[in-house]
Amino acid sequence: MNFASDGLEFEKVHVWRGDRHVLQGISAHVRPRELLHISGANGTGKTTLLRVVSGLLRPEQGSVTWLGQSITSSRTEYQAALAYASHEPALKSDLTAIENLRFAVGLKRRVTPKDLLAALDRTGVAACAELPARVLSAGQRRRVSLARVLAMRASIWLLDEPHANLDAAGSELVSELLQAHVQEGGLALVVAHRDLALSCPVRRLELNS
């Protein structure tokens, strides 16, 4: 089996935003059961890197491959296998938590209301299931977005600041979810300012300007 062709790899990725050379030849290889912690000061391109890996942003130079194939050639299959949590919780304020989940997760796999409730329960917001997202606190919205990631059952997790707006119990929850995901064979790229207190092995990618 070709060792290099499993997992997610990005090579010499360059991105310019206007005049700024935001990403200057970043490379990494993340295999299943591995977690990559992307850190760096503000403005060093952590979110940009995550967007490149997700396929939303095409880099000026460099490539991203999944299982040996470039993601641009099989974009929809690749994106079906990933779950992306951006800096904002990405919820429609007029829809309830469970409706938000249904419309997002339902595009990736067939889900029953029970599945979605179970995901909301796991992240501690089962009580909010029928509440419109606009009445939820920032922490509750973050938990709902985590439930969405959980419910998608994707092999690749791309999380941008998952700890934002969460209390200590919430941060612990994030660690538990990440550990469980990695143990079950998934891989994750996490952008975070603070240390991820995880018991599984964590690789570090530090970005500097």
């Binding site: 310019w16 935003r17 206007g18």
Partner: protein, 244 residues
């Protein structure tokens, strides 16, 4: 065969070509327009139907043709830039847009001035002038869109897509306007357009057309140099070029 295509994708190469061609194009344009204007305005006989007024043709018709040609050039450069991600295409499109818009405006103003002796009014919703007006709006849309973005590359790409969508619509718009006009065609409206032309009238017209094309080429070279320098200002070759 494709090597020249890829060479054209290199900004310094294009800058060099533009710098070299510029003066020749201006010179050739001056010659062609000089002959066209002298022969058309002074030497060609007055038209039996339109009198001296028809001489507006020497500026109006080449202007209108060029406004369409430039839009096509802009759309083609945009398509190349979008499909193959060649940034020089965006520079060409950005450089051409104001030139094409100016030609459209010229065609409209001269058309309106021509209309006064023909129709007795400065504007009579002539189909060709109306499509020219819509073309001007399309140009303004592309230029506004480009300048509305803070990130210049996104602005380029958005304007490029709009230019390509517009070029598909230009024939549709023109046909619709002609059809619309045919519904209301008054028998007395004299079409401002080319009368049947003997050689003494035709050659100056063709010369003006050629002159306008060369002029477009020359101004494009000038603007393209500026656009390329601006877009590539971080690159080292630009500092060399500015010093020399």
């Amino acid at each position: 065969m494709w090597t020249w295509f890829y060479k054209l994708a290199s900004p310094p190469y294009v800058y060099g070509v533009a710098a070299a061609l510029r003066l020749w194009l201006f010179g050739a344009a001056a010659l062609a327009m000089g002959y066209g204007l002298i022969a058309g305005l002074a030497i060609a006989p007055p038209d039996y139907q339109q009198g001296e007024a028809f001489r507006m043709i020497y500026v109006h018709v080449p202007g209108a043709i060029l406004s369409l040609t430039v839009y096509t050039v802009m759309a083609a450069a945009s398509a190349v830039a979008l499909i193959w991600r060649i940034k020089v295409g965006h520079a060409v499109a950005a450089a051409s847009a104001p030139i094409g818009a100016s030609f459209a405006l010229l065609a409209l103003v001269t058309g309106s001035l021509w209309g006064k002796p023909m129709w007795g009014t400065y504007w009579a919703w002539d189909p060709r002038l109306t499509s020219e007006l819509i073309l001007l709006f399309l140009y303004v849309g592309v230029m506004s869109l480009r300048s509305a973005f803070e990130d210049p590359l996104r602005g380029d790409r958005a304007a490029a897509l709009l230019a390509v969508v517009g070029v598909v619509n230009v024939p549709i718009v023109h046909f619709s306007v002609v059809w619309w006009n045919s519904l209301h065609q008054g028998a007395t409206i004299v079409r401002i357009g080319a009368p049947k032309m003997p050689g003494s009238m035709l050659w100056p017209l063709l010369s003006m057309w050629l002159g306008f094309m060369l002029f477009f080429g020359a101004v494009l070279c000038m603007r393209l140099q500026a656009e390329v320098l601006n877009r590539e200002r971080q690159a080292s070759w630009v500092r060399e070029a500015i010093k020399s």
